[in-house]
């Protein structure tokens, strides 16, 4: 079966080359029948890649330890879901996954547009297949998942998957990230095809709008899952460390968010055309660049995927090539990318979106600079200089607040030029709410709150007021004019203008998420060593260490502590933090115990059972942290509302 997978990858490579040739010929010579050949080549490559995936899944599922990849990342002691998830636990398997998702998207795009865009499709196929070719070259010649071990090295069992990854959230986190990253290949391909053919109108991004939204939403979920996993599994009480690998996934999401907003301006006012092409090019290049960062070891990360520097540089060269081609075309077409309209006022929706673009770009620069500072500093001064979370939090905080402010202001400000009257009408209520919030929060939390949290909460109140006003006015209009019930009116809003009203829900989700982040200003942590029966006091909680017991033997062992949690005299919960040892992998892990309320989390880690029988416990009190996950849920709801297919959906042009 594994040999079948190997051959499938080889055949896929051959077909990809043929497909690229057909596509180029079809595009240059305008031969539609050759477009079909290119499209079918993409489908065939997807078919062969699927075969390879199936072969690798089979090898992992059945424990074929003659394959190096299976031996390195799987073990017979693992349950089946984790044995299968090990496919993306290592280098070559994850590259195969990337390839499969890319060709899946390509096939879906080909199928969806099989009767349309005949001019664009040959070039879309060329770009998609060229990307696929890169990954096929890697998986065939550089890091082959079907490589067999020499006989002298075959073991009877594998090394097992890193215990930290043996968690349900971790099994789907890479899938979500890749589905997000790779999804941007579709709008990227259409953008490049549009520049090659000269069809520079709105077609390329309107056609790919849903694809982009889907990829963006899935990437957002992937980021949230990563944060939640870090919080639940890693036992350091946090969810985001600005680690290079985390930043590598965040950067394309930032560029994509800017892009999704910016295209609304091109749609409505035929402006920001160059911005939009640059943003989608940047998004996709950052996806590839992020993959390079994660695999090259060029920046030290606690997520050590691999440290083969030379391999990473293959990726870097590829990103440079893609960027050169794409931005080369943007330069080539720049004269055709002008706009018939000019920005008429700095107080206008267009200006708001432009500021939004700049805000996201600034955030991107901060994250990029901080992540790559060791590389830049070493090449310039010979010394590697690194920065930690404080750098990122200090600079990203104000930018996040600025973007939150625009979230409230942008949708309400008039197009072209806002008059004083329109500003008054739109903003008097939300501004009043913000003022009231300022006073209330200022009084209640006087002296206790830092500026970021204060501004964040006031702005969230402002955003909630603007969103509520928008919904209220739209529903009221339909109720009074058409006599509809409010419920029907609301449904109608989601049906006919889902991008706008679903987008508002997404904005609320982001605001809640930032509120959750702002709670970090109030975080408390303690490290205590306690004997059985002793209590620890933190805020209005009392934690009494009861006992520790050995974990029943399985593929891991260790100790579980029992800690009774009280608030006053009220018993709340028995917390059971664990310290596990995974025998095969010889790796200890801490499993925290978390008591969650909407107000805060109490998070307990068993650091060690000491030789004298005492327990060293690390306690964290994390106020408001659950608003991150609540905000994430609202974000997902908003994304679903935006993407929901409606049978009578009109394209949502009103932004």
């Amino acid at each position: 079966m594994s040999e079948l997978g190997d051959y499938a990858l080889t055949l896929a490579l051959v077909i990809a080359v043929l497909g690229i040739g057909s596509g180029v010929y079809a595009g240059v010579a305008k031969r539609p029948e050759w477009t079909r050949v290119a499209e079918r080549s993409l489908l065939v490559v997807f078919g062969f890649t699927s075969l390879a995936m199936l072969a690798l899944f089979t090898a992992l599922g059945t424990g074929d330890f003659e394959l190096r990849y299976v031996a390195q990342h799987s073990a017979s002691t693992m349950t089946l879901p984790y044995r299968l998830a090990a496919l993306w636990g290592g280098q070559s398997g994850s590259l195969l996954l990337w390839l499969w998702i890319l060709t899946a998207y390509g096939s879906a795009a080909v199928f969806a547009h099989r009767h349309r865009h005949r001019n664009l499709m040959p070039w879309v196929c060329v770009v998609m297949l060229s990307n696929a070719l890169f990954f096929l070259v890697l998986t065939n010649f550089v890091t082959n998942p079907f490589e067999r071990l020499p006989h002298t090295e075959v073991f009877s069992d594998g090394n097992g998957l890193n215990p930290l990854l043996q968690h349900p959230m971790m099994t789907i986190h890479p899938l979500m990230l890749y589905t997000g990253f790779v999804g941007f290949a579709v709008p990227f391909s259409f953008a490049l095809a549009a520049m090659i053919t000269g069809e520079l109108g709105t077609t390329w991004f309107r056609t790919t709008r849903r694809w982009t939204l889907f990829a963006w939403a899935v990437l957002g979920v992937g980021l949230l899952l990563g944060g939640r996993w870090a919080y639940e599994v890693l036992g350091w009480g946090g969810y985001w460390a600005w680690d290079p690998v985390e930043n590598a996934a965040l950067m394309p999401w930032l560029a994509a968010t800017a892009y999704l907003h910016s295209v609304m301006i091109q749609e409505k006012r035929d402006m920001l055309k160059i911005w939009n092409l640059v943003l989608i090019g940047l998004t996709y290049c950052l996806c590839l660049f992020g993959t390079f960062l994660t695999r090259s070891g060029v920046v030290q990360s606690v997520h050590s995927f691999t440290n083969s520097g030379w391999f990473g540089f293959i990726f870097l060269a590829y990103v440079a090539l893609i960027a050169a081609v794409f931005f080369g075309f943007v330069l080539y077409r720049r004269s055709a990318l002008g706009s018939p309209h000019r920005l008429e006022s700095v107080v206008s929706r267009e200006a708001g979106f432009l500021l939004n673009n700049w805000g996201f770009m600034a955030l991107l620069v901060v994250v990029f600079w901080g992540t790559l500072l060791p590389v830049f500093s070493e090449s310039l001064t010979g010394e590697r200089i690194t920065v930690g979370p404080r750098f990122f939090n200090t600079l990203a905080g104000p930018l996040a607040l600025f973007l939150l402010f625009l979230t409230g202001v942008g949708p309400l400000v008039a197009w072209r030029r806002a008059t004083a009257a329109s500003l008054r009408r739109q903003f008097i209520l939300p501004a009043g709410v913000a003022a009231a919030a300022t006073v209330v929060i200022g009084i209640v939390f006087f002296g206790e709150i830092d500026f970021f949290a204060f501004a964040c909460w006031v702005l969230t109140a402002f955003v909630m007021a603007t969103v509520s006003q928008e919904y209220f006015r739209a529903i009221r209009a339909r109720v009074t004019r058409r006599g509809e019930s409010p419920g029907r009116a609301l449904l109608h809003l989601f049906r006919t203008n889902q991008q706008r009203y679903g987008g508002y829900v997404v904005h609320l989700g982001i605001a809640f998420l930032l509120v959750g982040v702002s709670g970090a200003a109030f975080n408390e942590e303690r490290l205590e060593n306690v004997q059985p029966g002793d209590s620890i006091y933190i805020a209005d909680y009392r934690l009494q260490y009861l006992t520790a017991e050995a974990i029943p033997a399985q593929h891991y062992g260790g100790a579980k502590a029992r800690v009774a949690l009280y608030r006053g005299d009220e018993g709340l919960f028995v917390m059971t933090p664990e310290k596990r040892m995974y025998w095969l992998e010889e790796q200890p892990t801490s499993v925290p115990s978390i008591y969650s309320t909407s107000r805060e989390d109490l998070y307990v880690v068993l650091s060690a059972i000491e030789p004298d029988g005492s327990a060293t416990l690390k306690l964290y009190r994390n106020p408001l942290v659950n608003w991150i996950w609540i905000g994430g849920g609202v974000f997902i709801l908003g994304s679903v509302l935006i993407l929901w297919p409606h049978s009578r959906a009109r394209s949502a042009t009103a932004a």
């Binding site: 036992g235 200006a351 104000p398």
Partner: protein
Amino acid sequence: MSKGAQIALGALVIAALLGWYGYTTLAGGGTYRYYKTLDEFRADSPEIGSGSLRLHGYVALDSIDRNVPERRVAFRVQNDPPHRVGASADTVQVFYGSLETPDLFKDGAEVVVEGHLEQRHGDTVLVADNVMAKCPSKFQARAEAEASQAL
């Protein structure tokens, strides 16, 4: 000046303000740390108190001293992994003022230690405010160990 240029200028002003804010907030110790391996550290001989440091190395075998009453852990760091080179003569003493070490912290673990240098009893020691441990490359380690046993 066109409106677009006005916006760009405004964005530039905001960026400058942010840069000034970042610069003043982040100035002082702790934000920017030199990242060095132990060999580089020895070669460069950083001065005591010359700023924060990130030292990359491996926990020397049998060097971990966990002092529960004093709530601190002391250990030594060497440049190369013990499973490859054995014990090394060149190590640096690290004092970490917490019992909360990472799960992967043990003899031979690959670590990155953040802290500053001090002189104690005539020795240069690293007083750590953070210790991070990385996942070792298990397949490599086991294969090498088995190969060396076979010889």
